[in-house]
């Protein structure tokens, strides 16, 4: 199990385990958006989230593109697109200074509806470091499933991809809200 082929075989297995066990079926895009709104509202009440309610409602948006009558594909967007990690672009902000945004694509042409792609990224406050963590679920590809890395995370490096644990978008959101700490050493 030490050569390249073995890693590729293992990678296929890891990806299969990860994607198969990730809860991607949902009731509807609006239902998932309501779950997210509820989680953000609770975090606001707990003072974990600093983003005010009126800003949450402005940042948490939905867009749909119908394919067959009312059924189609939907996008839930949390925060504006921010590929350059510009802190001036609207985003969600935590009481520890971390800030994040996300986008989720949902296929509602199938029943039950299914999450087919997402990206979630959280960053440390720039005065502490440029550290970031991003989870990407790429759209399905039946040929090679994105080099066996359809669901991966970037540990503070765009070029490094590691298979993601089977986390749903709501679980990743909870990780961002409650599970990301800045070590004291780094703060000082």
């Amino acid at each position: 199990m030490s050569n390249r082929n073995s890693w590729e075989e293992m990678s296929i297995e890891i990806q299969k385990r990860s994607v198969v066990n990730t809860p991607l079926e949902i009731k509807s895009a609006k239902n998932l958006r309501a779950e997210i709104l509820k989680a953000l509202n609770i975090a606001l009440d707990e003072k974990i989230l600093l983003t005010e309610l009126h800003e949450i409602l402005k940042l948490l948006k939905l867009q749909a593109s119908s394919v067959i009558k009312q059924k189609g594909y939907s996008e839930i967007m949390g925060g504006e697109k921010n590929s350059n990690r510009n802190e001036l672009i609207p985003h969600f902000k935590l009481n520890n200074g971390c800030w994040f945004d996300f986008a989720i694509t949902i296929d509602e042409t199938v029943s039950p509806a299914e999450i087919i792609a997402f990206d979630f990224e959280i960053r440390y406050p720039p005065e502490i470091s440029n550290w970031f963590l991003r989870f990407d679920l790429n759209t399905p590809n039946h040929e090679n499933d994105n080099k066996n890395m359809r669901f991966h995370f970037h540990p503070n490096n765009e070029d490094i991809q590691i298979h993601s644990p089977p986390m749903s978008p709501l679980e990743i959101l909870h990780l961002f809200l409650y599970g990301i700490k800045i070590p004291e050493k780094q703060r000082s």
């Binding site: 958006r33 939905l62 504006e80 694509t105």
Partner: protein, 199 residues
């Protein structure tokens, strides 16, 4: 009439005190939006209320509607389809007010502007009991505005160094990369049909 209330406003207002949902309110909805609004509320309210909700139609008159409310095991109820009611139904409904006020039950009555006027006019007791809890529904407040959509499309074009036309052409040839941003891109362009083709 109270101020405009979006779906989010309703969710936050009702969900902020799920332990006290035993009040009734009226939501004024455009007739053409009624079915989707009922479906959206059914889909989302239970998340904030943390228990199932009942949707009860008034199409067979006030008496049957109130009986169904009393029999419902759910504590939060959506009432709709009261538009075909005649005077007798509205008068009966007014008389049933105290029966709706029993126990822990509460909910929303979805009415058009026309049926709201009927309720106010022919159900004086009910109207006075509702007080200010009449909300004008603001549809689609959670959707991106045209300006927000363009802003996002600009950001995606800068990120990929591609135009929207190029992305559409790539999708048509099934050559679109699988990064999540491209799926979002097609949805913002209202080209979900191209995502369907990628399957």
């Amino acid at each position: 009439m109270d101020k405009l209330f979006s779906l989010d406003d309703l969710l936050i207002k009702i969900g902020s005190r799920p332990e006290r949902i035993n009040f009734w309110a009226v939501l004024v909805v455009k007739s053409e939006d009624m079915i989707f609004t009922v479906s959206d509320l059914e889909d989302t309210l239970e998340i904030f209320i943390e228990s199932p909700i009942a949707v009860i139609s008034g199409e067979n008159g006030a008496r049957e509607l109130v009986e169904k409310v009393e029999k419902a095991i759910q504590e939060y109820i959506l009432l709709w389809q009261l538009e075909a009611w005649d005077l007798a139904d509205w008068h009966s409904f007014d008389g049933f007010r105290s029966r709706l006020d029993k126990g822990k039950k509460g909910g929303l009555i979805l009415l058009t502007e026309q049926s709201t006027h009927s309720l106010m006019r022919y159900c004086p007791n009910f109207a006075s009991w509702l007080g200010a809890k009449v909300f004008d529904f603001e549809k689609d407040a959670e959707l991106l505005t045209k300006e927000e959509t363009n802003l996002r499309l600009d950001a995606l074009q800068k990120w990929a160094k591609l135009s929207s036309d190029q992305v559409i052409k790539m999708a048509e040839k099934r050559q679109l990369p699988h990064d999540p941003e491209y799926a979002e891109w097609l949805i913002l362009l209202n080209r979900g049909d191209l995502l369907e083709q990628q399957k």
